[in-house]
């Protein structure tokens, strides 16, 4: 069986500016990838390029064996990509529920199930997108990525702006969906440790290139690599009570 996602020597950017060079990686069904790197290293550009939202230069992207390199973004979504963008891009003039039903595709993820992981959205189902708080918009953006029932979900900083208890819940749900339902995921996150615990593999970008590819577990246990590539330093534990 071919890998779900095969990216080969992908180069892309915005207009004249080349941001990504020679990106190659594969992801199997039900595998998850942590996409890490400092600020401005090309993480969001890579997500956007998988979706066809950047200026393509060279290389190829295959999803489920099919070449989608030159397909339009909506065709890629239909082929099995779900996306939660960093800016959230909620439809402001639609209600919470309409934001979900407008794009829902058949599968395990339904409006009810999205409401089950984010009860706050159920409370606000009839409120307009424009009336949501920052964190509520984030929940809705993640819900929309799931409700297209994708083969692979692309989450760009999904935990940003969420209360700690919601982050816990979300990570539990993602872990379960990836392990037990075979959904694949690529997750961009500023705090590496938060996602190394539940992803299978990790790649680190620097200036638009992959500088490290590893399994998540070994990277999590390698303070030297974390420090070199992400500037993450060990802090004495026990600083916080409880």
């Amino acid at each position: 069986m071919p890998d779900l996602l095969q990216v080969e020597k992908l180069s892309a950017g915005y207009g004249e500016a080349l941001v990504l060079s020679d990106i190659s990686f594969t992801l199997a069904d039900g595998q998850s990838l942590a996409l890490l790197g400092r600020n401005g290293t090309g993480k969001t550009t890579l997500i956007n390029s998988l979706l066809g939202l950047t200026t393509y230069r060279s290389g190829s992207i295959r999803l489920g064996g099919r070449d989608v390199t030159r397909e339009r973004p909506e065709r890629r979504v239909h082929a099995g990509m779900g996306w939660s963008p960093q800016e959230r891009n909620i439809f402001k003039s639609l209600t919470v529920e309409e934001n979900l039903t407008a794009i829902a595709r058949p599968g395990a993820w339904t409006v009810q199930r999205v409401f089950a992981i984010f009860p706050r959205l159920a409370q606000r189902r009839s409120n307009l997108g424009s009336q949501l708080s920052g964190g509520e918009q984030q929940m809705l953006a993640i819900g929309r990525a799931l409700i297209v029932n994708p083969k692979i979900v692309l989450l760009d900083e999904p935990t940003e702006g969420l209360a700690p208890i919601i982050v816990e819940e979300l990570i539990g749900v993602l872990r379960n969906v990836i392990r037990n339902e075979g959904m694949s995921a690529i997750v961009v996150e500023q705090k590496a440790r938060k996602i190394l615990g539940f992803t299978d593999r990790a790649i680190v970008l620097d200036r638009g290139r992959i500088v490290l590819a590893s399994d998540s577990q070994s990277l999590a246990n390698d303070p030297a690599q974390l420090e070199t590539h992400l500037g993450v330093t060990e802090r004495p534990s026990g600083k916080r009570p409880s």
Binding site: R38, N39, G40, Q86, R120, R124, N127, Q131, L132, S133, G134, G135, E136, Q138, M139, E157, E160, G161, L162, A163, P164, I165, I166, V167, E168, E169, Q190, K191, A192, K194, L230, G231, V232, T233, S237, K239, R240, P241, S242
Partner: protein, 251 residues
């Protein structure tokens, strides 16, 4: 607790049938390092919008140094010493950090009335601009267009602009949102190092930062004050764990 610099009394804000702020009586002490936490949609940003005057409360009062400012316009409140930052940057994309900070300092000094002199020739003003840029580690990018700066630098500039107004109360709405790990601590250490008489009210979901920064924490739930206390008290509070913190100890 020392005398509050900023105080709300039974503050209430309704949007139609939705009560976003419900009888909030909050005191921010002079020189406070105070954090405001709570579930998503609890009304934290709404409260900041009430304090800055962007929203008018449905009922209740806001006092700054015992003076009632409930009806004072937002731009007048800045002159009175209340400054804020936004969850999503509100910067001039086409200006450089140097121009942006110069503009903020000029505005505070009323330099608009001194329009015939080039800003760059006003030594005192430029000294202060240089000091702020250096303090926020923006000197190396001060001539770049803001739009192309890394997000972490943009967040620093957002705070620098607020600080340039020499506020007595600084309201920070998720200053670390979208900022990489190695720069998060820098943001809060810069804020923590502000003059002792500047009071800071911080909204943030990164508990590592909150517990490192705050001397006092207020918890907002469903628009109302749920509890208040020292970081130790809040971290041990089972009800706060249940509605907000979860089991995470260092997210």
């Amino acid at each position: 607790m020392t005398a509050p610099v900023l105080e709300t009394i039974d503050l209430e804000k309704k949007f139609g049938g939705l009560t976003a702020t419900s009888n909030v009586s909050l005191k921010v002490a002079k020189g406070a390092r105070h954090a405001l936490i709570g579930p998503n949609g609890a009304g934290k940003t709404t409260l900041i919008n009430l304090l800055t005057g962007v929203l008018r409360p449905t009922a209740g009062r806001i006092l700054l140094d015992d003076r009632d400012i409930t009806a004072v316009a937002p731009h007048r409140r800045v002159k009175l010493g209340i400054a804020r930052t936004f969850q999503i940057n509100q910067l001039f994309a086409d200006l450089t950090p140097l121009e942006t900070v110069s503009l903020a300092v000029s505005e505070r000094l009323g330099a608009g009335k001194d329009w015939w002199r080039l800003v760059g020739r006003r030594a005192q003003l430029m000294d202060e601009v240089a000091e702020i840029l250096e303090g926020f580690r923006l000197t190396d990018v001060m001539d770049e267009r803001t739009a192309i700066l890394p997000y972490g630098k943009q967040r620093l500039l957002e705070i620098a602009v607020a600080v340039a107004s020499k506020p007595r109360v600084l309201l920070l709405d998720e200053p670390a949102a979208g900022v990489p790990e190695d720069e998060r601590h820098m943001i809060l250490s810069i804020v923590a190092a502000l003059p002792a008489d500047v009071s800071v009210l911080l909204i943030e979901h990164d508990m590592e930062l909150v517990f490192q920064f705050a001397q006092r924490i207020s918890v907002l739930v469903n628009g109302a004050l749920f509890t208040e206390g020292t970081p130790d008290e809040i971290a041990r509070d089972a009800r706060v764990k249940e509605v907000y913190l979860g089991e995470t100890t260092d997210a």
